[in-house]
Structures are given as structure tokens and as C-alpha cells.
């Protein structure tokens, strides 16, 4: 699940108020754009939240969507982050089916990814992993059909320190 060229990363600083996420996501829906992933949480300033949106769109409509977003009263700042100018992370928890033979393989791979075992019963182990979205893609690809279920947070990002 690599990032195609049409994926753009928007970092949107908003007022931390009820309904703001609905305003933002509603705008994408109304203008016909698909949100690929979305992560939202308060920032160091509790009156502010940061929404990180990966959107699937060409650059011309992206300009229109950022201008329309900027018109929302509760939206304070919008930064479009080029992948090269941003640090990105994503968290995943994944349940993997194991046999006595593959169990140690999973544990060493989890260690390699600096993950942690969260839960284990019978032939299933749930681990958590943090990393770049591409690294998480690599992990699930390597596990292949042994993956029983996973949940990802969507990516979060900040601009690189220059």
C-alpha cells in the first residue's frame, strides 16, 4: 500500500469544538473528494486540534478544497505537507495466526519493528507496531494470509525541522 502520486497530506489546525470534524469531513464529501485516511486529536494547546488528512486528489482540485476548507470559521491553518518535507508515523495493531513454527518468526519480526505483544491466546497473537505507513505496509505484506485482523490509526505528520 505505497502512496501514489495523487495522495496529498493535509495538516489542518482547527478549534477544538464540537462539530468541527463534521464540518471538515462534510466539506470533502460535498465537493466529491475521497478521504484516504484521517487522524484527529488535541494538540499541546487543548483549545486546538490537529487533523491529518490524506486525500486522494489531483493538485488542481486540491487547491480548491484547501481554499474551501480555509473558509470554515473553525479552521485556523492548513499546511499541505510534501512527503519529503514531513515526518510521518502511523500506529497499527494486528492479530496474526501463528503455528509453533511461525510464532518465533513473528516475535523476532515484531522486535525488528520495535513493536510489542499486546495479547496472546491459542494460535493468535496481537502486536502493536508504530512506523512509517510504508513500513507498516511491509509488515502486513510479510505476514501475508496469517493476518487475521488489523486496525491502523491513519497517518499523523509534522513538518520537518529545518
Amino acid at each position: 500500500m505505497s502512496t501514489p502520486m495523487r495522495h496529498h497530506l493535509l495538516s489542518v489546525l482547527v478549534e477544538n469544538k464540537p462539530g468541527v470534524l463534521a464540518r471538515v469531513s462534510g466539506l470533502f464529501a460535498r465537493r466529491g473528494f475521497n478521504i484516504f485516511s484521517l487522524a484527529v486529536a488535541p494538540t499541546d494547546d487543548p483549545t486546538r486540534s490537529r487533523i491529518t488528512i490524506v486525500v486522494d486528489v489531483d493538485s488542481a482540485p486540491l487547491e480548491q478544497i484547501t481554499k474551501q476548507l480555509d473558509k470554515l470559521i473553525n479552521v485556523l491553518q492548513i499546511d499541505e505537507l510534501a512527503p519529503a518535507d514531513a515526518v510521518e508515523r502511523e500506529l497499527m495493531i494486528v492479530t496474526v495466526m501463528v503455528t509453533p513454527e511461525t510464532r518465533s518468526e513473528l516475535l523476532s519480526l515484531t522486535e525488528e519493528y520495535r513493536g510489542a505483544v499486546l495479547d496472546e491466546a491459542g494460535d493468535r497473537i496481537t502486536v502493536s507496531l508504530g512506523g512509517t505507513p510504508e513500513a507498516l505496509d511491509g509488515f502486513t505484506a510479510q505476514m501475508g494470509t496469517a493476518v487475521a485482523a488489523y486496525q491502523r490509526t491513519g497517518r499523523i505528520a509534522l513538518p520537518r525541522i529545518v
Binding site: E15, G26, L27, R30, Q64, I73
Partner: protein
């Protein structure tokens, strides 16, 4: 000072300078209606909440001040969604207050509960659900600020009943009035970028076939005077869109009139052939551009708009300037003078004579009816135009009658033409005219309506009669949903599907009289003028004239939907 949410709301409206509220009470908003009795604010009791919204819009169009409507929760809130959407499309400053069920009832499917802020999110500039009575003065202040600044638009405030009910402790607050608003995410840019203004001036002074494309933003920015000064400085012709009719007087030699799907040949073709379009407060609407790929393909674009999202939304400008139209035009005039305008400019005499040639060859025209035939709608409009004051305010609904009015009226003053442009709301005319007359009681106000439109909102004439608001309604009654009929005739092989309405059902004269209005019916050309004169003399109640018009008459010119503006059909003889 201790107060309650309901009293605070009314006091806040008073402090915002509100002189009239259009509304209708009900359960959830009931506590706010009690302090209205003691307020100097006039309340106009409408017969349907949609009427309240369109009246507030008509008031705002005519005065430039925000219109205010107040209704209850649930069905009242849903009934006012159409006016909100209409105001959002046409950038009309409006504040709508809706009642909401008590805070404890929200989300429980309580009686008359709907998710009003959820439903109206995409048709308002901003909306807010009040969660604390102490927020009411601040939220009202912010609502008026947002509605009236930047690109104007509708703002909705949804207030739960317990926060305004003095019997409920949740409504208690200490009164305050904020000195200013604190909205960190809202900073509309008014001043244009000086460098971009200089770039625009260079393009303008070099253009050989320039056209100013004036939109409704000119009116919102109170920029009609600046626009005229710019046009006159360099002798540049101006097209005035449906939303900008009257910004430059129709009798001014530089005014080419209305462009677009039913624009006149000269306005449409001058844009098509121009080498520079100076778009001022206009938004390249599909009804103006026709097929966008074929629109004004030889033209460079200077685009000025207060909403940065309009720049490049439809057509990428060569110079796009975010800013208030009046401020930017004034700066543009200075920049043009600095580079030698009006002395330095190309010889544009060929362009001017081309334009006047088109005007001569392709005037608006229709064939007068034979004796005994039904009236021509254009003839009725010419008679109305020529027998009403020059500054008469005219409102219309949506359809053929709207286009004929936009074409045949002479708009010589800004803020005299009120219609539903973007949303195309049938039934807009009657309530909008009432709102306009409330805002401008010194002016004569006529509504030109279609028979289909009239049936959608006519009940507000009861409001007008009860409140002694003497608006005048001319129904161009062709017994059809005329514009739909025209499309079925032209594009569906004359297969008329569900467009016939009957000229006599309802009986418009009797209906008008039943609503407390003067009712008249006019069937022959010689009776048109006396009826208009009689209507003009009535000043204590509304007047409705049922003009029986010819259903076969179509609106021309016409650019068929999806076609290039170069494929304009000038008249019936041009059809296929």
C-alpha cells in the same frame, strides 16, 4: 446585570441595529417571543417559515443590511432551509435564529427535534448550536460579523429552549456585550495585493478588446460607483450579470446588459470575442459561461473577488486578486492613472464599432400580438417598466418571467433588482418583494411572478395585507410552467410532460381578494396600462394583477444548455 437567555438574545439583536424580524413562533422558540412584546424591534408574522427567510433576503438585497428571521425547531427549521441555501448561493447577509428542544432532549428524537446545525451545515456560511446561555451575546455578535463581512452569507444560530426560558435556571446569565469579535480562523482579506493590482493595470491598458464582467459582488461591496469610474476611465464596455443588473445603469452607453444563457447577443458575443475579461465580483457561473471550454477562449482574465476560492475555481485567471471589489477597483484606477491612463491606451475604435454593430443588428425583439390574442409577456413588462418610477424595486421568481424581466426592464440604479440567481428558487418573488418593501418603504416595489411560482408562496400576501405592506404583484399567467415548457418544446420534440397549470384554476383575482389584496385580471393590450396605473395608486394593501399571457412565447436569445456561447440562438427563426 442578571438576565436570561431570551431577553439577552433580543437585547443583542437590538444592539446589532436590527429593526425588523420576520418570523413565526412555536414551542421551542416560545420564550423568546415574550420579550419581543417589549422590544422596539418590529416583528412580522409570516404564514410559512420559508416566507420569513425570503423576506429577510429581500430586505437584505434592498437595504444592504442583514435580514433576520426567527422560527421554531423541527419543521420550522426545515422549512427555512431553502432560503438559507438561496442566501448562501447569492451571498446574501442573513441571520436565522431557530429554536431547539431543551439541551437534555437533544439527541433523543424529542418532539419537533431535528439536527438543525447538521442539516444546514452545507448551506450556511457558519452555524452554531448554543450550549450555554452565557454565550448568547457573543454568538449573536459573531453571527452578524460573519454574515456581513467578507463574502456575505447566511449564519444560523440554534438555541435550545432551556437556555432562553426564564423559568429554567439554565437560562441565567450576567449580561455583557463584547467590544469586538475574536475569531482567529476568520480574517477576510480586503486590500488587494499592490503588485497584482499593477499587473492587472498593465493587462487592462494593453487590451484591445476588453470587457468588464460585473457580478453580484459589486453590489455586496457597494462598488457600483467605483465600477462606473473604472469603465469610464478607459471607455470599457460592461456586461451586468443577472445578479448585477443595475450596477451600471442600463441607459449608460457603456452598459451592454445581461450576458449568459438568456443574455442579449451583444453581451454574450462581446465576452466571447474579447481579449481581456475583467471579472469583478463574478464567479464564472455555468449559466454565464455556457460550455466552459469554449468560453471567451481568446481572452486573458483579470479576476477580483473577496472569496479566494472563486479565483481559479472555474477558469484560471492570468491575474487573480483577492480583495473587496470597491477597494481593489479604486486602487486599480490609481494604478492605471499612474501608468498613463487614459491617454495611453490602444485605439479601440474598431472594437467599439463592432459592438455597436451587434447592438444595431441584434436588439431584443418580439412580435406584438394580434387583436384578440393573449398578451405578450414582453409587452406587459415594457408597460410596467415605462409606467413605474425609475428607482422602483423589482423582485422576481424563477423562470421565463424572471429572464424577460432581467432583459426588458431598465435598471438604472443599484439595489433595484432582486431575484434568486444561484439556487433558482421558484416562489421567491412574493416574500422577497415584501421584505424589500419593509426595508425600503419609500420605494415602490413590484414583483413580477409566474403563475407556477405564485402558487408556491402566495400565502405571504396575507402577511402583507395584515401588516399593510403595499407590494404589487404582476403575474405573467401563461398557464404553464413556462421555462420547462420551453425546454420540452425545443429539446423534447414538443412532448409536454406535466407542465400545464390552467389559467383559471386557481382564480387569481378571487384568491388575491380573499387574501385582502386588490385583485385584477387583464386580457387585452389596451387594459394593461390602466391596470398598472390603478395598482400604482393603491398604497394601503397589496395588489395582484393576473396578466393573461401567450404560452407559446419563448425566452430568446438562448444558448442551449451545454453548448458554446458562440452557438447562441437569437430568436425563434433561428431554431433548427
Amino acid at each position: 446585570m442578571k438576565t436570561n437567555g431570551g431577553s439577552a438574545l433580543i437585547k443583542a439583536l437590538e444592539l446589532e441595529g436590527v429593526d425588523v424580524i420576520f418570523g413565526l413562533p412555536g414551542g421551542a422558540i416560545l420564550p423568546v417571543y415574550d420579550p419581543i412584546i417589549d422590544s422596539p424591534i418590529r416583528h412580522i408574522l409570516v404564514r410559512h417559515e420559508q416566507g420569513a427567510g425570503h423576506m429577510a433576503e429581500g430586505y437584505a438585497h434592498a437595504t444592504g443590511r442583514p435580514g433576520v428571521a426567527m422560527v421554531t425547531s423541527g419543521p420550522a427549521a426545515t422549512n427555512i432551509i431553502t432560503p438559507l441555501a438561496d442566501a448562501y448561493m447569492d451571498s446574501v447577509p442573513m441571520v436565522v435564529i431557530t429554536g431547539q428542544v431543551g439541551t437534555a432532549g437533544i439527541g433523543t428524537d424529542a418532539f419537533q427535534e431535528v439536527d438543525t446545525v447538521g442539516i444546514t451545515r452545507s448551506v450556511t456560511k457558519h452555524n452554531e448550536l448554543v450550549t450555554n446561555a452565557a454565550d448568547i451575546p457573543r454568538i449573536v455578535r459573531e453571527a452578524f460579523h460573519i454574515a456581513t463581512t467578507g463574502r456575505p452569507g447566511p449564519v444560523l444560530i440554534d438555541i435550545p429552549k432551556d437556555l432562553v426560558d426564564p423559568m429554567n435556571p439554565n437560562s441565567a446569565l450576567d449580561w455583557y456585550w463584547p467590544d469586538s469579535v475574536d475569531l482567529p480562523g476568520y480574517n477576510p482579506r480586503l486590500e488587494g495585493d499592490p503588485k497584482l493590482i499593477r499587473d492587472a493595470a498593465q493587462l487592462i491598458i494593453a487590451a484591445e478588446r476588453p470587457v468588464i464582467y460585473a457580478g453580484g459582488g459589486i453590489l455586496k461591496a457597494r462598488a457600483a460607483g467605483s465600477l462606473l469610474a473604472l469603465a469610464e476611465l478607459l471607455d470599457i464596455p460592461v456586461v451586468t450579470t443577472l445578479m448585477a443588473r443595475g450596477t451600471v445603469p442600463d441607459d449608460h452607453p457603456l452598459c451592454l446588459g445581461m450576458p449568459g444563457m438568456h443574455g442579449n447577443y451583444t453581451a454574450v458575443t462581446a465576452m466571447q470575442e474579447s481579449d481581456l475579461l475583467i471579472a469583478l465580483g463574478s464567479r464564472f457561473d455555468d449559466r454565464v459561461t455556457g460550455k466552459i471550454d469554449a468560453f471567451a477562449s481568446k481572452a486573458k482574465i483579470v479576476h477580483v473577488d473577496i472569496d479566494p476560492a472563486e479565483l481559479g475555481k472555474v477558469r484560471r485567471p492570468d491575474v487573480g486578486i483577492t480583495g473587496d471589489c470597491r477597494l481593489v477597483i479604486d486602487e486599480l484606477i490609481l494604478a492605471l492613472k499612474q501608468i498613463g491612463a487614459p491617454e495611453i491606451q490602444p485605439d479601440r475604435s474598431a472594437w467599439k464599432s463592432t459592438i455597436s454593430g451587434w447592438q444595431e443588428k441584434y436588439p431584443l425583439s418580439y412580435v406584438q400580438s394580434e387583436v384578440g390574442d393573449l398578451l405578450k409577456p414582453q409587452f406587459v413588462l415594457e408597460q410596467l417598466r415605462d409606467n413605474t418610477p425609475d428607482d422602483c424595486i423589482v423582485a422576481s421568481g424563477v423562470g421565463q418571467h424572471q429572464m424577460w424581466t432581467a432583459q426588458y426592464w431598465k435598471f438604472n440604479h443599484p439595489y433595484t433588482w432582486i431575484n434568486s440567481g444561484g439556487l433558482g428558487t421558484m416562489g421567491f418573488a412574493v416574500p422577497a418583494a415584501i421584505g424589500a418593501k419593509v426595508g425600503r418603504p419609500d420605494r415602490m416595489v413590484w414583483a413580477v411572478d409566474g403563475d407556477g411560482c405564485f402558487q408556491m408562496t402566495a400565502q405571504e400576501l396575507v402577511t402583507a395585507a395584515a401588516e399593510r405592506i403595499p407590494v404589487k404583484i404582476a403575474i405573467l399567467n401563461n398557464a404553464y410552467l413556462g421555462m420547462v415548457r420551453q425546454w420540452q418544446e425545443m429539446f423534447y420534440q414538443e412532448r409536454y410532460s406535466e407542465v400545464y397549470l390552467s389559467p383559471d384554476l386557481p382564480d387569481y383575482k378571487m384568491w388575491a381578494e380573499a387574501m385582502g389584496c386588490v385583485g385584477m385580471r387583464v386580457e387585452s393590450p389596451e387594459d394593461v396600462l390602466p391596470a398598472i396605473q390603478r395598482a400604482n395608486e393603491v398604497d394601503d394593501r397589496p395588489v395582484v394583477i393576473d396578466f393573461r399571457t401567450d404560452a407559446r412565447e419563448k425566452v430568446f436569445p438562448m444558448v442551449p444548455a451545454g453548448k458554446s456561447n458562440s452557438d447562441i440562438v437569437v430568436g425563434p427563426e433561428d431554431v433548427r
